[in-house]
């Protein structure tokens, strides 16, 4: 499709440890269109964050390597760029917001100075007053009241929600095509969460960037995303439009996940849980990775990994039990 800004094909990022190989991201493919929000959901340790870091090529130290796959940004594979070229891409074409606003800002610099660093890169040779004017505008864009005063303040003088908005302002100051939001609301108060999500939505509508929204909160997915990709043990097991995933989930894991979200209606009984544990990423089974916890498991599920099946328009699932439409 022509308006695809980011396409990830068969991405493999493994940790090479002395004890063995941890296949944390093991064949992830998805695409992201201009102006779209794609939710990436899954439980802790399924490889969501590592997928994001692989896209930025900022893998954690200690043996993580992307060994296979392509990350096409505007048609070119950024996995083949040099580190210097990557620095040009980061911040201007792909940017990121992290989970914890408390540590996302440098405590010894004022908010204005930190914004300035981001703006200066894009506008080389601009005068200080121009840059500061732009920094004030950036703060105003993320709905910070009295930005002229706030710009001289330090991170510890701000609340968590405000800091996260500043982080957002810095992230989008380079006008990136893709913004990766790695659980940006997890550390915020519930009341502030909604505000922040609305803000992200508005910013996205303004400059048409695509957002890869990583979360484990299905409620947030329903509010934010156009499409969802469900990740399990290093792979995307189901991907499709939000409405279809919520109303007609195909993969048993997605179904179980949605069933375990507490309902606002009905009796407050015990919550549904998924029994068992995900497989060890060091020792993955040959067959379907969810097989050991799946209620519908059959022999061939254990023997081979199911292919990706198209279950609907833009809706795919990796399961033997679903049939192609």
């Amino acid at each position: 499709m022509s308006d695809t800004v980011l396409e990830v094909r068969d991405l493999h990022t493994h940790f090479f440890l002395r004890r063995g190989v941890v296949k944390a991201v093991d064949g992830v493919s998805f695409s992201l269109r201009r102006g779209e929000v794609l939710g990436l959901v899954g439980e802790s340790g399924c490889g969501k964050s590592l997928t994001a870091l692989s896209l930025m090529r900022l893998l954690p130290k200690g043996g993580a390597r992307t060994i296979k796959g392509e990350v096409l940004l505007g048609g070119e594979n950024i996995l083949e760029r040099t580190p210097a070229e990557m620095r040009e891409i980061r911040g201007r074409r792909i940017s990121m917001v992290l989970q914890d606003p408390q540590t996302s800002l440098n405590p010894v610099f004022s908010v204005g100075d930190q914004l300035r660093e981001a703006i200066e890169r894009r506008r080389k040779g601009a005068s200080l007053s121009e840059i500061m004017k732009e920094a004030v505008a950036a703060l105003r864009r993320v709905e910070i009241a009295a930005p002229e005063q706030r710009i001289g303040q330090y991170p510890h003088q701000m609340s968590g929600g405000m800091k996260q908005r500043v982080v957002g302002a810095i992230a989008i100051s380079g006008e990136p095509e893709v913004l990766i939001a790695d659980e940006p609301t997890t550390a915020l108060d519930v009341t502030i969460q909604l505000q922040y999500l609305k803000l992200l939505k508005r910013l996205q509508a303004e400059n048409g960037m695509a957002i890869l929204f990583i979360t484990h909160d299905f409620g947030v997915v329903g509010r934010m995303c156009d499409r969802v990709a469900v990740m399990y043990a290093g792979r995307i097991v189901e991907c499709g439009p939000v409405k279809q995933i919520f109303e007609a989930p195909s993969h048993p894991y997605t179904r179980a996940l949605i069933a375990s979200v507490p309902k606002m209606t009905g009796s407050a009984g015990r919550l549904t849980t998924i029994e068992g544990q995900p497989p060890s990423l060091m020792d993955l089974p040959a067959g379907c990775r969810f097989a050991s916890r799946c209620a519908h498991v059959e022999q061939h599920c254990l023997d081979a990994y199911p292919g990706t099946v198209r279950v609907g328009d833009e809706h795919t699932a990796d399961c033997w039990k679903v049939s192609a439409s």
Binding site: M56, L58, K61, M86, R87, E88, I89, R90, G91, R92, S95, M96, L98, Q99, D100, T103, S104, L105, N106, P107, V108, F109, E117, A118, R121, H156, V167, I170, A171, G174
Partner: protein, 305 residues
């Protein structure tokens, strides 16, 4: 049931008066340690002495007046009003030598802390931030530096390079850098994990830029505390080396050299060695108390409250 005695009105009034006249630590809020005015005053006096030595010293520190040799301080029997703190074996005024000697101590402290501390800071940041093999190599170097007997090394340097300010500064820097590097590295290891470093990378900052603009300002507090706490170490090292004859060559007065010269006559002319000894003790103690206070003041855990 425990009986709690209520303080009488008179007692209350008394403690109020006492708190106004002599504020005690427990009267002030827990976190705000009292400003150490006495150490600050002593340090200021010594700094002023060093800066304006030619104006303050009553005599030349090196001119000998053999007629007046070994005079005791003015307040003792046989002391002369001309020499407030007495004279040494060559009839030199001890007060003047003390005042000029402060210069040497402070200059050596300044240079050695700039050189040794600066090198330690740079190595600590690089080792902590880059990590991996670079970190291992640098930290083994630090370990090696700690195992080295610093005094021996300084004596060796003095023998090979000749005595002088340069040798002294190099020797003391070699003693200092390792402890700076180790502490700063630890701090950087923790900072490196913080998200603002990751986001600086996301913004496209190079490693050099992150170290210089994001890591460095965050460790400057620690660095300043290390500097003040090490001033005492440097002054003692300078005195030790001068005492051993590996420091500044005579006749330039330094406090360590003065003790060394007075050592032989400690029984009959104790003031020659004791007075510079008291000066060293006062300065090092003051600097350490000041450093302790600074450390408490700049403690990030208290700052965030």
């Amino acid at each position: 049931m425990a009986i709690i005695e209520r303080p009488s009105v008179a007692q209350q009034r008394w403690s109020l008066w006492r708190a106004m006249v002599w504020p005690r630590r427990d009267a002030a809020p827990r976190r705000a340690a009292r400003v150490p005015w006495v150490p600050i005053t002593i340090i200021s006096v010594i700094v002023v002495m060093a800066l304006f030595a030619p104006l303050l010293a009553p005599y030349s520190p090196i001119d000998q007046t053999l007629r007046d040799k070994l005079l005791p301080p003015a307040w003792m029997a046989g002391g002369s009003d001309k020499y407030l703190l007495g004279t040494d074996a060559f009839g030199r005024d001890i007060l003047s030598r003390l005042i000029y000697g402060a210069r040497v101590s402070l200059i050596v402290a300044l240079l050695a802390l700039t050189a040794g501390g600066g090198v330690g800071l740079a190595i600590g940041i690089v080792a902590g931030y880059v990590g991996g093999a670079v970190d291992s190599v640098l930290m083994r170097l630090v370990d090696a530096a700690f195992t080295f007997p610093a005094i021996l090394f300084a004596l060796l340097l003095a023998v090979t390079m000749g005595q002088g300010l340069g040798t002294l500064v190099i020797a003391i820097s070699l003693l200092l850098w390792a402890s700076f590097a180790r502490v700063i590295r630890g701090e950087v290891l923790a900072l490196r994990q913080r998200d603002f470093v990751a986001l600086a990378k996301v913004r496209g900052c190079s490693s050099l830029r992150i170290m210089a603009t994001h890591i460095l300002p965050n460790v400057l507090n620690t660095f300043m505390v290390l500097v003040t706490l090490n001033i005492g170490v440097v002054i003692i090292a300078e005195a030790t080396l001068s005492f051993l004859g590996a420091g500044i060559p005579p006749p330039t007065p330094t406090w360590g050299l003065m003790i060394s010269e007075g050592r032989g006559r400690i029984a009959d002319a104790w003031w020659v060695a004791l007075i510079p000894g008291i000066a060293i003790t006062l300065l090092v103690l003051s600097v350490n108390l000041f450093g302790d206070w600074l450390r408490d003041r700049l403690d990030p855990r208290l700052r965030q409250l």
